[in-house]
Symmetry: C2
Amino acid sequence: MKIQLAESYGFCFGVKRAIKIAEENKNSATYGPLIHNANEIERLKRDFNVALSENLDSFKSGDTAVIRTHGIPKQELELLHERHVDVIDATCPYVTKPQQICEEMSEQGYDILIFGDEAHPEIKGVKSYATGRAYVVNSAEEVDALNLREKVAVVAQTTRRIEDYQKIVGKLMMSHKEVRVFNTICNATFDNQDAVYKLARESDIMIVIGGKNSSNTKQLHSIALDACFNSYHIESQEDLQSQWFEGKNFCGISAGASTPDWIIQAVIEHIKLLSQP
Amino acid sequence: MKIQLAESYGFCFGVKRAIKIAEENKNSATYGPLIHNANEIERLKRDFNVALSENLDSFKSGDTAVIRTHGIPKQELELLHERHVDVIDATCPYVTKPQQICEEMSEQGYDILIFGDEAHPEIKGVKSYATGRAYVVNSAEEVDALNLREKVAVVAQTTRRIEDYQKIVGKLMMSHKEVRVFNTICNATFDNQDAVYKLARESDIMIVIGGKNSSNTKQLHSIALDACFNSYHIESQEDLQSQWFEGKNFCGISAGASTPDWIIQAVIEHIKLLSQP
């Protein structure tokens, strides 16, 4: 069986940067998971003693707190500073951007609409920067239920599909005098999404590797499914099932922005084993 | 044969206002046609001695110049003022709005994109208010050829179809960090377009009445054609052809924003005659 990686996949700029920051801050702790990949977080703990705490109150004066790539709510960041915690910010700059936009647009009197998952830490963080009215929608259908004012500023979760974002903006345009659209979907997301679609069209099985709660991996998997019915989202080689590969000739592989290369390599080796005649 | 008018059609707020202004200014002249309807312009000349001049230089100090609903270029307006012509502004307020937006957004450093017809007087006027880079496109396809900067402000000709505007914005979103969308399509346009589509779906012949160079009438006709193959754009009852009505049972009628009721009534009477068994 032929196995082929997508032209663009895996670690993005923001994830690479955050891991480098974590590695440079041995014996620190991240507040929440640095990235959505449990295996990589284990490696940082094992090799660099970078711990993980989900509890804000666990950080005391003089401790070092590394902020996750997804960012955290503004109020929590302020609390850490007030408590004289040494804050090392590994928030992806592409996430800092929509945070700033939310703050600025609120101050200029716009209602804020965020396209994303309200429960996702990135969106909790971004929304916290709005000082006025701010809403989160997961799809264009949810726009109808909102009662937004005439001037609306829109940002998107960095990992969303542009086609869905276009639908939301298209709907807003119909009923609002001004829609100020910020394209906050990151380039790595664009490139990985383009590449997974191209590859999935040629593949008879697609494997997309990434954390189960990784938003960008879920998007990649959804795009793969559009082009290839046999598309699977796995976290590691342990999730692979041999029967998936029966009668298949071309296996495409992609991986989310928080999936390290060593996991991708392990998956490829395991697929080779499983698909041996 | 059943004859039915669309739920919304004909004279809009801006046209009614302009005609009232012209009627109140007997013995004046409009600079360019006040509205895109030759019959109504004839009536204003006949009943109120409101002339029409296409030549800016014909207006001398002390003359009264009525500005057409579509507006005129900023530089020409300034010239009239410099020459101490008494300027009566009948520009539709929905056209003044995109003029102001162009000026403000240029000053704030945005590239301006105007969706409309570069040769239409409304768009010539709107574009003249941009102090920086400004471009006009007639369709989403034309967006690719432009080399716009990261921050773009977009306005539309007041008479355009929202679906086409959405396509243009969707395309801009893919390659620009900020797209500031102003929905300058006027409500009368929206209402007339909605209504013509609904009616055309039920009709086996649709008659759309309006000036041949009236942008909003052309849009209504194009929408009617989407839903009813036998759709005709006419200026007056003289354009009607009896064979159009042979074997037809339901005739829908709509009219552009610059079409006066007396023309619509004359068309209806003539259709009744033509379709008599």
